[in-house]
């Protein structure tokens, strides 16, 4: 045996002289989560925690606890920016600690672009109350009124006496005090970090191989697992022949997982696990399994036939969810009527790190897991339910996520590791292969959209119908769900901002045959694709410039409330007074982004510009694409311009990077993304059959502008995605005169 098998990674780094430290070491699981501040030897308190997000150590270091998951959106940089700013802590004297999953932190579900938009005030309060507590401690020490003291640069000062004390020196005194629950926030002009492009806090780890993801965690004596799952969603194992698998060198055990039951939820999906002494042996053993499957109720699912079902459903009578005026009468009275069916396929999130988790059973019968999870509290719940133990006995450590895009909101892979750890009595790491990820995920819904518009003689849209049809995410939780509903209607359907007198919005039924889940911007993807594509069609039908037409259709600046027309709209959980659907702000984004792109300029032969704008997750994003088609039929996206109104912005560079990334993610959706099913099974398996945009296809430049705003913050991670595909489709029409109403574009003969 080689000695390397018995030494830890960190020890290896040390021996080979490559160890290097810094803030990022707090990420490793040994040092990462919830530890008390060590501090130098002292008689008093080592640290004081004014709230669950802040711990001030007597060595002067302020520990900031990040309770949200980092998956590339930059929350591990932006969250401490807010807390440190409100606290007046110095950036180089903070240490970031990744939180365990724990209800004491409130909502930790890092999806829906919620970290800042829902928790800006909570995070400011965490910093402000910490500051207030340290001020109170200093005032008590000095015998002066707290009102005469202020915090500045990691210290409290009393101007009258000239006294000052560093935060670390106030730990003992603060430990005697009750922590305040509320404190006034700093005013905007006093911000030191909020609104600044601070460097990514994990930059060193990211560039040196030291960043630890779910797939990287190692425990002593652990087994590596690879799981064969039924090709069709919800199917079961009939029989297993594991003789060849067990003969593979390194394979230690083969275990059948419990069959899935409806609803699938986030539970273990069944199948057969091969456990081995390394990942390769587990994968090789798994390939040697002979399994007979019962594909179950979804075994006949086939995409071409299902598409016909969706189109038939969406072109039949729908269920009204919003009614303004009388669209049917407007169509009758119209000078011309236009209708279209848009279609977009299933998608897989395909984060670069496939789902991976490690779990062990603790001595008290609990479970401890390390995972790349967007939702550690859901992981606690699911693991507890899987093992039949209390949630309080499940400890979930959140590693870095190698991308998430919604996939890692679902902790099924963590439940697999926990269940196998329980069966084997040893720590188990489950690593999904890329094929597992693409074939057995929670898919972005396939959808058909029907749109109809009546135009008067001047090209004004007088009547409008949008009918949406797709299998609902709710089907994963409630198999009786038969179509769009609930929050899904919020996502680019009910919040139609256009100033049209007669508007009807409807849904149409669709039954689910795969596990359906979230993907970056969710239903906004196909709603924006259809709506922005169709609005562009109307511009051309009316003989108007698409930009001018779009601005006209938005109408005069006003605030739209879908409830006025009977829409049950929840505005991403926020009151419309705080986050209005403001057509003036939408128009401003359209004007800005088209100006950036030089809308109306003379273009090279064969080039076209397309515009799309979409409000989602309380932010507005407009995108312009410039495209051309070369002689081989290849669509080239030369440039993308993006303007975002996200209200108050914490870190402009991270917002910019999210818009750049969303442009590429949206391009992958537009050009390549398609999951299909045959005999209930997903056909695609890896990046050859499920291609994504590579650098050779990336635009020459992605130009991003952030609108100046003092409005409350909106979401950033997702809103950049929806307008990209329709901007490209509209640009393609401008370049070629060909209208595409289905994704991906490679199915329209483009490569």
């Amino acid at each position: 045996m080689n000695e390397l098998q018995h030494i830890s990674r960190r020890e290896f780094l040390k021996r080979t002289g490559q160890a290097s430290g810094g803030l990022v070491l707090a990420l490793t699981f040994t040092a990462g989560c919830g530890r008390a501040g060590p501090g130098p030897a002292s008689q008093g308190a080592a640290s004081v925690a004014p709230n669950v997000y802040v711990n001030v150590r007597n060595d002067g270091i302020v520990e900031i606890i990040c309770h949200r998951s980092e998956m590339g959106q930059g929350i591990r940089t932006c969250l401490p920016q807010i807390i440190a700013d409100e606290m007046d802590a110095d950036w180089d004297r903070i240490e970031l600690i990744q939180a365990l999953g724990d209800a004491k932190y409130g909502d930790q579900n890092t999806d829906g672009s919620t970290s800042i938009r829902n928790q800006f005030d909570l995070l400011r309060n965490a910093g402000a109350t910490a500051r207030q507590m340290l001020i109170a401690a200093a005032a008590a020490e000095w015998g002066v009124p707290a009102e005469e003291c202020s915090a500045r640069e990691h210290a409290v000062h009393h101007e009258g006496s000239g006294k000052s004390a560093g935060f670390g020196d106030l730990v003992d005194a603060a430990a005697e005090l009750e922590a305040p629950t509320e404190a006034p926030f700093k005013s905007r002009e006093d911000y030191r970090y909020i609104g600044k492009s601070m460097d990514t806090i994990d930059g060193f780890a990211f560039t040196t191989g030291q960043a630890i993801y779910g797939i990287d965690t190692v425990l002593p004596d652990m087994l590596y697992a690879s799981i064969a799952r039924c090709p069709a969603s919800g199917g079961t194992v009939v029989s297993v022949d594991d003789a060849e698998a067990r003969a593979v060198s390194g394979v230690i055990d083969v275990i059948k997982l419990p069959d899935p039951t409806s609803p699938l939820l986030f539970n273990v999906l069944g199948g057969v696990a091969v456990l081995a002494s390394n990942t390769w042996a587990a994968q090789k053993g798994r390939e040697a399994l002979q399994i007979e499957w019962d594909r179950g109720a979804n075994g006949a699912h086939e995409s071409a036939a299902y598409r016909k079902t969706l189109v038939k459903s969406v072109t039949s009578q729908g269920k009204p969810v919003l009614t303004r005026g009388d669209a049917a009468a407007a169509f009758k009275a119209a000078n011309s009527v236009h209708e279209a069916v848009y279609y977009a396929p299933y998608l897989s999130q395909a984060p670069m790190e496939p789902p991976a988790a490690i779990a062990r059973i603790t001595e008290d019968g609990g479970c401890e897991a390390w995972a790349c999870t967007q939702n550690p509290q859901a992981a606690q719940d699911t693991v507890a339910a899987t093992l039949g133990i209390d949630k309080e006995k499940v400890k979930v450590h959140v590693t870095l996520l190698g991308g998430g895009f919604g996939r890692k909101s679902k902790p099924d892979f963590i439940a697999e590791a926990a269940w196998l750890a329980k069966q084997t009595g040893r720590p188990v790491k489950v690593t999904w292969t890329r094929e597992d990820d693409i074939r057995h995920g929670y898919f972005h819904s396939v959808s058909a959209q029907y749109l109809k518009a009546g135009l008067d003689a001047d090209g004004n849209t007088t009547g409008f119908l949008h009918r949406s049809c797709f299998p609902s995410i709710m089907s994963t939780f409630d198999p009786s769900a038969t179509g769009p509903g609930g929050f899904e209607l919020d996502l680019g359907l009910l919040d139609n901002p256009y100033d049209i007198a007669n508007m009807q919005i409807e849904t149409a039924e669709a039954k689910a045959h795969l596990r359906i889940g979230w993907l970056r911007s969710v239903c906004n993807v196909f709603h924006a694709f259809a709506l922005a594509g169709f609005v562009d069609e109307l511009a051309h039908a009316a003989g108007q410039d698409p930009r001018d037409h779009l601005l006209k259709l938005l109408g005069k600046p006003r605030q739209v409330n879908p409830a006025d027309d009977g829409g049950k709209y929840t505005n991403y959980g926020h009151p419309l007074e705080k986050h209005p659907i403001d057509t003036g702000r939408i128009a401003a984004v359209v004007e800005k982004v088209t100006d950036m792109a030089g809308w109306g300029r003379a273009l090279p032969d064969g080039h076209g510009l397309g515009i799309a704008v979409h409000r989602s997750f309380l932010s507005i994003v407009g995108s312009v694409a410039e495209v051309s088609v070369d002689k081989t039929g290849k669509l080239l996206v030369h440039d993308i311009w993006t303007a975002i109104d996200a209200g108050t912005v914490i870190n402009p560079d991270r917002v910019t990077s999210q818009m750049e990334g969303a442009a590429i993610f949206g391009m992958s959706i537009a050009l390549h993304g398609e999951i299909t099913a045959k005999d209930g099974a997903v056909v695609q398996g890896n990046f050859d059959t499920y291609p994504v945009v590579r650098m050779s296809e990336a635009p020459e430049a992605i130009h991003v502008h952030i609108m100046e705003s003092t409005a409350p913050p909106g979401g950033v991670g997702e809103p950049g995605v929806p307008p990209v595909a329709p901007a490209i489709v509209n640009a393609y029409f401008a370049a070629t005169g060909k209208r595409v109403r289905e994704l991906p574009l490679r199915n329209a003969g483009l490569t």
Partner: protein, 152 residues
């Protein structure tokens, strides 16, 4: 069987199935997790390492092919993580989730070693084997130009 090779300057002997992809030998046996698994089929570049100075997809070559040879992983690129490519990556805040960046950096270093002044087309050709789902491509191009211009 024992396979002897050098990883980041250290001679190691791995008791391993010779068919095991170098990737898993590096990750599971040598315990160096900076080299990433992304596809297992030589499609994404997350596993890129240097083998005797040549860029190699470690998921697609057996560990036996590295016998007697020198493997460099992201951890061994520079003693203090200060290779100009790593520095440029940090200066431009290239990484989002960071997962693919080990492979991206290994590809960029290999490119710059054979072509110190690459054009955009050169960069696209050399880097298109590396997938980034976060979409950091335009910043990667900028970072490579920055190194080529001696600015980091």
């Amino acid at each position: 069987m024992a396979i002897e090779l050098t990883i980041n300057g250290q001679a190691v002997s791995l008791d391993v199935d010779p068919d095991m992809p170098l990737l898993w030998a590096i990750r599971d046996l040598a315990g160096l997790t900076g080299t990433k698994f992304g596809c297992g089929k030589a499609l994404c570049g997350a596993c890129n390492v240097h083998l005797d100075g040549q860029l190699m997809r470690s998921c697609a070559i057996p560990v036996s092919a590295a016998a007697g040879r020198k493997v460099t992983t992201i951890e061994g690129l520079a003693a203090d993580g200060d290779h100009p490519v790593q520095v440029a990556w940090r200066e431009l805040n290239v990484a989002q989730c960071g997962y693919c960046q080990s492979g991206q950096i290994m590809s960029a270093v290999a490119l710059l070693e054979r072509n110190p002044k690459p054009s955009d087309d050169d960069i696209d050709a050399a880097m298109s084997g590396n997938i980034c789902r976060c979409g950091t491509y335009t910043r990667i191009r900028q970072a490579i130009h920055k190194v080529a211009e001696g600015q980091s």
